[in-house]
């Protein structure tokens, strides 16, 4: 379910991401001023959320690719899910330090 929600959220976010980058088409300064706008704490929090969703979606996807293509025992799958959750938390923590 988390995989599905993160996918939907990313799909909704992406067009805005592309539009923001497209600002550089007008003038580089447009992108620069946009990036200054994103220095606000609220935006930073949203960015952390996005990276978290990104990581979660990637790890959920890897879990599916593994289940569907490699022969895993049932206990190993639980371990993999746990490892993926742990990695997502670590990634998030690291990102929080960055910001």
């Amino acid at each position: 379910m988390l995989h599905r929600i993160s996918g939907l959220a990313l799909a909704i976010f992406l067009p805005f991401h592309f539009l923001a980058l497209g600002l550089a088409l007008e003038r580089d300064a447009r992108l620069a001023s946009f990036l200054r706008w994103t220095d606000q704490p609220l935006v930073k929090v949203a960015e952390i959320g996005l990276v978290f969703l990104f990581t979660v979606h990637l790890l959920g996807g890897l879990r599916i690719l593994v289940i569907e293509n490699l022969a895993w025992r049932d206990e190993q799958k639980q371990l993999a899910t746990f490892a993926a959750a742990l990695s997502a938390i670590i990634a998030l923590a690291f990102l929080v330090r960055v910001f």
């Binding site: 996918g7 939907l8 992406l14 991401h17 592309f18 497209g22 620069a32 946009f34 990102l95």
Partner: protein, 109 residues
């Protein structure tokens, strides 16, 4: 979902897995280094490598996301199969269009 869409979905996912890791690394690097727009654009302008990398990423995600959203629509919304197909095509075109435009924005000198 059928076998054709499944293959496209899983294949673009597999292609994107390494691309996503590189992209996350780039985000961390740019954020830690406090790179400004000028810095970033200085590195991407005129670069065939960045054009290829992000061009591939955009095309893959356009296919992957449109199939994914189509599946969610077919399971959670009352739309017919034809309508969900149409939504998928629309989303794919929007993402590919905006995405390639964004790649051009940062790569074309």
């Amino acid at each position: 979902m059928n076998v054709r869409l499944y293959i496209w979905q899983r294949a673009t996912a597999a292609i994107m897995a390494p691309l996503v890791l590189v992209h996350i690394a780039i985000i961390f690097y740019a954020a830690r280094g406090g790179l400004s727009a000028t810095d970033i654009l200085a590195r991407t302008r005129g670069s065939i490598a960045w054009a290829a990398f992000y061009g591939l990423f955009v095309l893959a995600v356009s296919i992957h996301a449109s199939i994914g959203v189509r599946n969610v629509l077919s399971e959670w919304s009352p739309l017919s199969e034809r309508r969900t197909d149409a939504c998928a095509v629309f989303i794919g075109i929007v993402l590919a269009g905006l995405g390639l435009r964004a790649v051009a924005a940062v790569v074309v000198p």
